[in-house]
Amino acid sequence: MSEDELYSPRNPWFSISVGVTAAIAVLSAIVGLIWLPLLQPDLKLSGIWDAICSAAGVPNLPRPAAAVPPTFKTSNVVVTPEMLTRQDQVSIGRGATLAQRCAICHGPQGVSDANSPNLAGQYAAVTYKELNDFKTGARVNVVMSPFAANMTDQDMRDVALYYAYLPRVPSSQLNPGLPPPAIVVTGAPLRNIPPCGSCHGEIDIKAGSPWLGGQSAVYIKAQLQAFAAGTRRNDISEQMRNIARQMTAEEIDQVARYYEAQP
């Protein structure tokens, strides 16, 4: 018995196995790619070729002009994990000069006494995004909007890198022993709230999420309320609005106090 005999249509093992396999493949292709799709009126297929393309998964180009643009400005910043993570001495130096204008509210060391956000040690991508959103009008604030209006893209990068370079300073409420509220560590799955710590640190850090430790409780609470009420809406894809809307007033208080007490 030689191998030649195996690969010959006269060998029943060969002809039956290849024949049956091919027949099943062809039959299932006809049923799956032609017959079943044509049975579905919802697909609105124009013919056999259309059925095959649809069932094979050829992407359908979206019909134009379907999207409804929002009536307000949304953030146009694209955040990537690498964004502004490299230290650049020249940029930091320029940022230090530019930041003198900010010191009156955000403090000379980037630490505020006036419940304005502390910027020292904040991720550069975060500061940059907020400045950009103030400039484009995606986020509105009577004090900040005019400051951002005249900044160039490079100015915003420089200031952001400068603040990221300053060391974090804990708040006067520092108490690292404070037990974290449940919403920070486990979220509330039934309300679709992931743990705060899965983006803002403790568990994980996701690009574009600010560091919250040492931030003023008044400020955190005001922002969560603004997200919940929809008066602040520069969060990409409503990430924070969806969460804040589901939080109870008590949880908002708890997280504000908790994060203020963190380093």
Binding site: V31, L36, G57, P81, D204
Partner: protein
């Protein structure tokens, strides 16, 4: 004739040691997410643990069993020393090194991506490199198995390849080809992203590549079990194998259709067309055939053994089986679990029913029953059967062995039945936290608690198993004789070439892969702008 006993023993010991460690993690996971655990504060530990447990149980443990058992089969069935002994040691070294390289970042929390990788989540690159090393180590085994077969064939033209070796090589080819999918995903997609060379990843394509591996990997896990059914069980109970050819046909069918059906893991994924999902469902249905053939053949072989011992009647013969024999107990319990698991599998494989259990705890319940239950219990049987031959010492704690096997069976039922049930109630899988105080979830609390107790039973059984093996290592010396495989009822002197070689079947396997996967993969590669930003896990704090 087992010559390289230390090599084989090293595989089994390493396999069972990592199995023991991962078993502890599994039992802890059961407890952690049950209502017994009043409060836990860092869900991260759960995902770390699941990643480690899944990686060890899914990749390292069964691979080592297949390799070690494969070397044993090669020497015992071909009756000649293994060719490529040094390479075999290099293979196990790669598996061991790869496991350590992968487990360090997982333990540090730098790669809690779960064993299915889950792009766009990206963990520390060493996790993936470690997995690749494990696979490369196993590919050495794949090569050695086919080389050993070729060398034997050269000297034994026209003789039938012994069934055990035929099946063993079938399993190795299946694994060699099926691992390619995940290897492509790791090497061309995930590792470049983990190294920071790119910051985006085509998660849809990655999932398709993974599905290429995901279905047939379960048959790779299964094949040592099936080899034990066909070639150990009939001999161990003093009977004959009902049909040698039936075994060959079953293993051949696994080679041909086990792989190009993985899209049934992607029924809910939008990136694959419904037509290809249908085609692969049809072939999925086909893969039930070799299992049905096997169940039939094994039951017939058991009946032969029983009638030889004087069993009679339509069903009375079942009582006359040697129930005091651990291999008998293991095989029977394995078939029962295979039956329940197979029934669940019918639900998984049908497009519509699948939607009701997709991503629920049903799925974890299902694969624990089939894999942890039906398959692993036969790994125990294989070890019990081989041990006296490998150690040269007697292994006679039969009572302990039977207790261990029964405990594994009971534990598996107690763990997985409620596990399936909460899945039907809608409990999602892969979550560290369930709020059982919530009225919508509280009805699941009892079942999850029951599963957690089942986990403890399994852990007890696992410990007993290791105790039996250790005792075997220190028992008095005893000559176990040559290691043999079951003799078929009728052994034809010559076999059709088709049942004695692989060329045709490998060609069909690759051809079907092209038919079933070619277009979905090609299209995803051709379409632009399908990548999403990578989500780096455990990055800087």
């Amino acid at each position: 004739m087992l010559i390289n006993k230390r090599l084989i023993l090293a595989h089994f010991w390493l396999a069972f040691i990592v199995f023991g460690a991962a078993l502890v993690l599994g039992a802890w996971q059961m407890f952690e997410r049950s209502p017994l655990n009043v409060w836990h504060l860092n869900p991260e530990f759960y995902y770390r643990s699941v990643t480690a447990h899944g990686t060890v149980m899914g990749y390292v443990f069964p691979t080592l069993i297949a390799m070690g058992f494969g070397y044993a089969i090669s020497e015992a069935a071909l009756e000649r020393p293994l060719v490529g002994r040094r390479w075999a040691w290099a293979g196990i070294a790669l598996v061991a090194i790869g496991s350590v390289v992968a487990m360090v970042p997982v333990s540090l929390g730098l790669a809690s991506v779960l064993y299915t990788f889950y792009p766009p989540m990206i963990g520390n690159v060493f996790y993936y490199i470690g997995v690749v090393l494990v696979v490369v180590g196993s590919w050495i085994w794949v090569a050695l198995m086919s080389i050993n077969l070729a060398v034997w064939k050269r000297d034994n033209r026209d003789k039938p390849v012994p069934l055990a070796m035929f099946a063993n090589v079938a399993g190795s080819y299946l694994w060699g080809w099926t691992a390619v999918g995940a290897a492509l995903e790791l090497i061309f997609q995930i590792i470049p992203t983990a190294l920071g060379l790119t910051t985006t990843i085509d998660a849809g394509l990655a999932r398709v590549f993974f599905s290429w591996t995901l279905h047939a990997i379960v048959y790779f896990w299964l094949i040592p079990t099936y080899i034990a059914y066909y070639t150990i069980f009939p001999r161990a109970i003093g009977g004959r194998l009902y049909s040698d050819a039936m075994g060959r046909v079953a293993f051949i069918m696994f080679v041909v259709v086990a792989m190009p059906i993985g899209v049934h893991h992607l029924f809910a994924d939008p990136q694959v067309g419904a037509g290809f999902k249908f085609m692969q469902s049809v072939f999925t249905g086909l893969v039930a055939l070799p299992t049905l053939l096997t169940v039939f053949t094994i039951c017939a072989s058991a009946e032969i053994a029983s009638r030889l011992r004087g069993g009679r009647g339509a069903f009375g013969w079942i009582r006359a089986l040697p129930w005091e024999n651990p291999i008998m107990v293991a095989t029977a319990l394995s078939l029962v679990m295979l039956g329940f698991g197979g029934a669940g599998g019918l639900i998984n494989m049908s497009y519509q029913l699948n939607t009701s259990i997709h991503n629920t705890q049903w799925v974890t319940g299902h694969f624990h029953l089939i894999f942890g239950g039906a398959i692993v219990i036969m790994y125990f049987a294989i070890a019990y059967d081989l041990w006296p031959h490998l150690t040269g010492r007697t292994l006679d704690s039969y009572g302990l062995m039977r207790t261990q096997l029964w405990l594994w069976f009971i534990g598996m039922i107690v763990t997985t039945f409620p596990w399936h049930y909460v899945g039907i109630l809608g409990m999602p899988r892969r979550m560290a936290f369930y709020d059982y105080a919530n009225p919508a979830i509280s009805p699941q609390a009892f079942s999850v608690t029951m599963s957690a107790f089942g986990g403890l039973i399994l852990l007890t059984s696992g410990i007993l198993f290791l105790i039996v093996l250790v005792r075997g290592q220190f028992a008095p010396r005893g000559e176990a004789g040559a290691y043999t495989f079951a003799i078929p009822l009728h052994m034809p002197a010559r076999l059709p070439v088709a049942l004695n070689s692989f060329g045709l079947w490998l060609a069909l396997m690759i051809g079907l892969t092209v038919v079933n996967y070619g277009y979905p993969i090609g299209q995803l590669m051709a379409v632009r702008n399908t990548s999403v930003p990578a989500v780096y896990v455990g990055a800087s704090r």
